[in-house]
């Protein structure tokens, strides 16, 4: 029992420690593909460290929401990391505290507070970015729901560990058309939720074109560091759900010894890096969509997920 709690905490530490690295590698790869040198892969660590050293400035008119938000944004991915398979293929201590829907709600809580805080400051760009994020959010929501319902219908459960078990067993399950379609739909969701390029440009510096970034413009010092770190962890957690539960359920630890769990860390990291390479290629080969084209992008994701549901429900 104590061992499982320890592993669960180890899982959280891995998410906290490695998430800036994944962001750094993604940025570096993107710059390299566009034949630029780019910052080193450890740059996000340096950024976060630097920001923790700086003084924090809080707008006079803002309320407690503005001050509490960085902590909420930082803590919510950690809670989700307790619920999902990051390193192990078997359920850990907290695994049955919440299912995938619960995880989705916890992540949405962070997004909700970030939106409120952006409106709280009185900076004109904040509410604009916030309302745009909500637009992307409510278009992404039905896709999330249908993906989760289809997945849990196939696996007979909404607990991510059990879903993951279902994909591991026969290889034939992997090739099912509904599975491929779900993977595509979820990939489009990750792009939309993570603010990656066809939807949002994460490295843009033009406030009028920002969607996700402009919410954090007012933060400085420790608040900015926590927001940045929390964003990186949210991305990492989404990648873990995508890769460990839906796409490649291999390489997770199945034994109860510490050695096996430690061995799973490089394997999971390798999977994530391969996916990040694919993501960098996607980001470099598309242009950012116009704001009102995002409806179409997520509409396509919705249709894909519905097609997955139909092929699954009606073929049998």
């Amino acid at each position: 029992m104590t061992q499982r709690i320890l592993f669960n905490i180890l899982q959280v530490l891995v998410v906290m420690a490695l998430s800036p690295l994944v962001k750094g590698v993604l940025t570096r790869l993107k710059e390299n593909i566009q034949s630029k040198r780019g910052p080193g892969i450890f740059q996000p660590y340096r950024d976060i460290w630097k920001l923790f050293q700086k003084d924090e400035i809080v707008p006079e008119e803002s309320s407690w929401i503005f001050r509490a938000t960085p902590y909420i944004v930082f803590v919510t991915p950690i809670f989700v990391a307790l619920l999902i398979p990051v390193l192990t293929g078997y359920p850990l201590f907290f695994a049955f505290m919440g299912d995938m829907l619960g995880g989705g709600f916890i992540l949405a809580l962070g997004g909700f507070f970030a939106t409120l805080a952006a409106v709280d400051t009185g900076n004109p760009y904040g509410p604009m970015g916030a309302s745009r994020t909500r637009m992307v959010g409510f278009l992404a929501e039905p896709v999330f729901m249908i993906v989760f319902f289809t997945v849990s219908f196939i696996a007979g459960s909404t607990i991510p560990y059990i879903v993951h078990k279902h994909w591991v067993m026969p290889l034939a399950n992997f090739l099912e058309p509904s599975h491929i379609l779900l993977m595509l739909a979820f990939l489009m969701l990750i792009i939309a939720e993570g603010g990656r390029i066809p939807v949002d440009n994460p490295s843009g510096h033009f406030e009028l074109a920002m969607i996700d970034e402009s919410k954090g413009l007012e933060y400085s010092g420790r608040g900015a560091a926590l927001m940045k770190w929390g964003g990186a962890m949210k991305f990492f957690v989404l990648l873990c759900i995508f890769l460990n539960v839906l796409v490649t359920p291999w390489g997770l630890a199945h034994g109860e010894t510490l050695g096996e769990i430690l061995l799973a860390i490089p394997l999971v990291l390798l999977k994530i890096l391969i996916f990040v390479l694919i993501l960098a290629v996607i980001e470099s080969s598309f242009a950012k969509l116009r704001l009102f084209r995002i409806t179409e992008f997520l509409g396509a994701a919705f249709v894909t997920s519905v097609a997955a549901m139909i092929t699954r429900l009606l073929e049998i």
Binding site: A172, L181, G299, T304
Partner: protein, 227 residues
């Protein structure tokens, strides 16, 4: 589970995969705004159709389905795109949006409804047969047929309409290879040749229309033009 049975299961799953992606390309053709992207999706769809025919051939052990796959790849993935690109070059490479009656999100929602309708229409037919290939291919082929027809209805330009008709044909073929796998080879050959001629005639016609009118936007040609 014995070995041939396992191989059969893998074959069936691969066919299902081809079917799922086939459906996705059909959706993609509705969602695309440019002619070239539509044409590329059509090529992809034809290759998936050939793949499905290939897996069916593996399952039934029939050589002539392999030939059908070969003909499909040759005619639909190579010859027709080449022909269209040659005859109506400026239309294919036009970097503008296809003019449509409905906007794309609405189209996508309607199309989802059409796919559901395809499944519901084919479900009474599927009760007759236990063959998993037919159970998968018939509804998806039917959906491909509906989506192609929808594309023809909604788009106001000649070239996307040609691509729509060709993709309808793909859908019919996708269902056909599973239902009538005993069809004589000569019929398949004739069908493939037919499609080629259709593409050629329509391409030439479009080319002429473009020469005469300076546009192929069918929607604008409701009133007759006097010489």
């Amino acid at each position: 589970m014995s070995d041939p049975q396992a191989a059969l299961l893998v074959c069936q799953k691969l066919n299902a995969l081809a079917g799922g992606l086939f459906l996705l390309t059909a959706f993609g053709m509705i969602a695309m705004r440019q002619v070239l992207a539509s044409l590329n999706l059509f090529v992809g769809q034809s290759i998936l159709l050939a793949a499905a025919a290939f897996f069916l051939g593996l399952q039934h052990g029939s050589v002539h389905l392999f030939v059908v796959a070969g003909i499909t790849v040759f005619v639909k993935a190579l010859l027709i795109p080449w022909l269209l690109r040659r005859i109506i070059r400026h239309e294919i490479y036009a970097r503008r949006e296809i003019s449509q009656v409905l906007n794309i999100p609405t189209s996508l929602l309607i199309v989802v409804g059409l796919v559901m309708a395809a499944y519901f229409i084919s479900s009474p037919l599927l009760r007759v047969t236990p063959d998993p290939f037919i159970r998968l291919n018939l509804p998806i082929g039917l959906a491909g047929l509906f989506l192609g027809a929808y594309g023809v209805m909604v788009r106001r330009e000649a070239v996307p309409q040609v691509i729509g008709i060709l993709s309808m044909e793909n859908g019919a073929f996708f269902a056909g290879v599973a239902i009538a796998s005993g069809l004589p080879l000569i019929a398949e050959l004739a069908a493939a040749f037919d499609v080629l001629i259709i593409a050629l005639v329509m391409g030439l016609l479009t080319h002429r229309i473009h020469e005469r009118m300076g546009t192929t936007t069918v929607g604008r040609m409701v009133s007759l033009k006097e010489e």
